[in-house]
């Protein structure tokens, strides 16, 4: 099993959710993060004092999937989150050694 973590633009969250649902992904976990990268931040001015804000709001989506689904999921995310502008984000894939469903105690692929 793999854990796929995507950092995307916040307003793409619903598109990505829909794309994942369509290919049968049943669950995901989302959080608000701030990103720093090639995409420029912005400037805020308060009573003449200028502040450069480097960190940009991003959304992190984590999806645990069985090995066979990884490529499909990655493709679906790329497709739905793409805007062709710097700052569209990244996808990270890591190995999951175990997954447990708390309610039932099921483990492995069954737990997903």
């Amino acid at each position: 099993m793999k854990l796929i973590t995507a950092i995307i633009r916040p307003f793409k969250q619903d598109d990505v959710k829909d794309a994942l649902s369509q290919i049968g992904v049943m669950g995901m976990t989302v959080s608000e993060v701030k990103g720093f990268g090639r995409q420029k931040g912005h400037t805020e001015i308060y009573r003449g004092a200028e502040y450069a804000i480097d960190f940009i709001p991003k959304t992190k989506i984590e999806v645990a999937v069985t090995d066979d689904l990884v490529d499909k999921v990655v493709d679906a995310i790329v497709e739905s989150a793409k805007g062709n502008k710097v700052g569209d984000g990244k996808i990270f894939v890591t190995n999951l050694e175990e997954v447990v469903r708390i309610r039932t105690g099921e483990t492995g692929d069954d737990a997903l």
């Binding site: 308060y46 003449g48 502040y51």
Partner: protein, 426 residues
């Protein structure tokens, strides 16, 4: 209708032998002054508190609210104990007497002008509440609470009360003919000067000026600004001490100045940065209101607009100068807005009182030049006296307790460290 020289009238009425009739309470005037007192109260609590509270970082929100609230309460009791008496009882040039300490002798039947004395006391009490609350913005996010409290009490006793007496209580500035309708000198200059002195004595916040310290909640700042504008109707309109054409004109010019100051500041920002900001417009509002305060009972509508416009522009550049050039961390810009605005308005009052500008006109034997020099004396005296005593008091308080919290506390935020609370658990 004859011109009243603002709150000074009260002193005169209290001091001089009056025809019996003048000692009768007018229900209309009383109704207005009861209301005006409530309006000035809301300026401090929660108006100014929210205005300032939104501007600091979230970990210091409660410290601001606490400082404003505690000051409001402590000054009320100080006023009761000796403040009112020293300011308004007795006709010394420098200070009043203690005849009315603990408000002794103030009964249901005591009268001040056309209103009950109790109402005059409450109205004036709301002024001593807000003045030190204003200077909290100068040392925000770093002053030790107990030092703050000690300083505020001493300051009010040794700065506010005497100057209030000088100007409105029958003291030397009033006698000299200083025009200060609602507190350009007594309130705004004293608060502004004290704020910048404290900012210098305490030193800057850690990280100033490099580190971004954006306002944490501009929504409550705007809410506070709205309440300030609302309350200022009582502040300036109430300073007439009657519900008449003078009060009406004071409110009209006050309102116009607020609007003009707001748009002026916004426009400068728009030109300089391409973006008009909400913090800018509300700051311009305060600048416009602070500037018109001393002049509000004397000038006409056109004067009000001009004073507001100049207040907005000049306070804007004063803010850039103090923080940007001098690198003084008067955290919430109290001096450039209130100090400069108050001084500006005090001086401009001498110009726009002129009947040719639609103002109330000069008193007998007074010219623009002579009035201007009186106003200048008032401004300079207030600035010098306030600066000197504020500095001394801070030094003295600093011998007794730490003026400033330590670095870790400042890091963690004053809310938790000094008050054991956190502002938001959303």
């Amino acid at each position: 209708m004859t011109l009243r020289t603002g709150q000074a009238i009260a002193a005169i009425l209290l001091l001089s032998p009056l025809p019996a009739m003048a000692n009768e309470i007018n229900a209309g005037d009383t109704a207005w002054m009861l209301t005006a007192s409530a309006l000035v109260l809301i300026m401090t609590l929660p108006g100014l508190s929210l205005f300032y509270g939104g501007l600091v970082r979230s970990r210091n929100l409660l410290s601001i609210l606490m400082q404003c609230f505690t000051i409001a309460c402590a000054m009320s009791l100080l006023w009761f104990v000796v403040g009112y008496s020293l300011a308004f009882s007795g006709d010394g040039a420098w200070i009043g007497n203690l005849d009315k300490a603990f408000l002794s002798g103030v009964t249901l039947d005591s009268v001040s002008g056309t209103i009950p004395e109790s109402v005059f006391i409450v109205f004036q009490m709301t002024f001593i509440m807000i003045t030190p609350a204003l200077f909290v913005g100068g040392f925000a996010e770093r002053m030790n609470f107990s030092a703050m409290l000690m300083y505020s009490v001493l300051w009010s006793l040794l700065v506010y009360v005497p100057i209030c007496h000088w100007v409105w209580g029958g003291g030397w500035l009033g006698q000299m003919g200083l025009l200060d309708f609602a507190g350009g000198t007594v309130v705004h200059i004293t608060a502004g000067v004290s704020a910048v002195v404290a900012a210098v004595v305490l030193g800057s916040r850690n990280g100033f000026p490099g580190k971004p310290m954006p306002p944490h909640n501009l929504g409550i700042t705007v809410a506070g600004a709205g309440l300030l504008w609302f309350g200022w109707f009582g502040f300036n309109g109430g300073s007439q001490l009657a519900a008449d054409g003078g009060a009406g004109m004071a409110i009209l010019v006050t309102h116009l100045s607020a609007a003009a100051g707001s748009l002026a500041w916004m426009t400068v920002e728009w030109i300089r940065y391409g973006k008009p900001s909400v913090l800018g417009i509300v700051t311009g509002m305060v600048a416009g209101l602070g500037s018109i305060t001393p002049a509000s009972g004397f000038v006409g509508p056109l004067g009000g607009v001009i004073i507001g416009l100049s207040g907005g522009v000049i306070c804007y550049f004063a803010t850039q100068f103090i923080k940007g050039k001098l690198k003084i961390d008067d955290s919430l810009d109290v001096f450039p807005v209130h100090g400069v605005g108050g001084a500006l308005g005090t001086l401009l009052a001498a110009v726009f009182i002129s009947a040719s500008w639609g103002g109330a006109g000069y008193a007998e034997g007074v010219s623009m030049a002579s009035q201007l020099s009186v106003q200048a004396i008032g401004v300079v005296a207030t600035v010098v006296y306030t600066a000197a005593v504020s500095y001394l008091l801070l030094k003295i308080v600093g011998l007794i307790v730490d003026l400033r919290v330590d670095g870790d506390t400042e890091q963690q935020g004053l809310d938790l460290a000094q008050h054991g609370e956190t502002g938001y658990n959303l």
